[in-house]
């Protein structure tokens, strides 16, 4: 069964460093998403991507964040200068024309 994959599973970085979180959505899916979940809190929407452009972003998704789909298979989230409060679980999700979003296993980001 096709699934969304994410790498790495755990990323540790120093404050101020850039990180890139990678996702491989399900092939032939059209809509792509990033969510984050701070430990013990709810899952929060960051950004959605459709037709090679951002279709919606939350107030969390400021200029420090960017997304790319560089090669038609990967979908990346870049954080330019990480802060302590960026420590969270980051989930990628993808969807075809249906209503179900398929989630990846997540990347745990720890900023020291």
């Amino acid at each position: 069964e096709p699934e969304v994959t994410q790498t790495p599973s755990h990323q540790v970085t120093q404050m101020g460093q850039e990180v890139i979180l990678r996702c491989v959505p399900i092939s032939n899916h059209l809509y792509f998403y990033w969510y984050r979940q701070i430990l013990g809190q709810k899952v929060e929407f960051l950004v959605s991507f459709y037709n090679n452009e951002i279709s919606e972003k939350s107030e969390i998704f400021d200029d420090q964040f960017s997304v790319e789909r560089p090669d038609g298979s990967n979908f990346t989230l870049k954080i330019r200068s990480t802060k302590l409060e960026d420590s969270a679980m980051y989930f990628c999700a993808s969807r075809d024309r249906g209503n179900e979003q398929f989630f990846g296993p997540g990347t745990r980001l720890t900023v020291l």
Binding site: Y31, V43, Y50, S55, M89, F91, R95, N99, P105, G106
Partner: protein, 116 residues
């Protein structure tokens, strides 16, 4: 903007018993979807059940069923014959119907513990 409220931070149920998790939401949309996601300790997000707002019939998936009250904006999850493997965080989520990418808006979750 949509909001989703889960008023039960934690619940406990004995194995084989039935438990109901509550969820209310607020929206001005008329066409939307509602979901329940399960998040076990592995933190993977697993879809449990979904409901289309235009359908009056409540969704059912094996031991999981919902009570969808559109006028009251209520969407509760009933788990019958609870199993130890049902122990997890459960998130209620809302998605509006749209041809563009539609985000999920999640509630704060209910931690369910199934005991022997």
């Amino acid at each position: 903007a949509q909001t989703v409220t889960q008023s039960q931070p934690e619940m406990s149920v004995q194995e084989a018993e039935t438990v109901t998790l509550s969820c209310t939401y607020d929206t001005s949309e008329s066409n939307y979807y509602l979901f329940w996601y399960k998040q076990p300790p592995s933190r993977q997000m697993i879809l449990v059940i979904r409901q289309e707002a235009y359908k009056q019939q409540n969704a059912t998936e094996n031991r999981f069923s919902v009570n969808f009250q559109k006028a009251a904006k209520s969407f509760s999850l009933k788990i019958s014959d609870s199993q130890l493997g049902d122990t997890a965080m459960y998130f209620c989520a809302f998605m509006k119907l749209s041809i563009t990418a539609s985000k999920l808006t999640f509630g704060t979750g209910t931690r369910l513990q199934v005991t022997l």
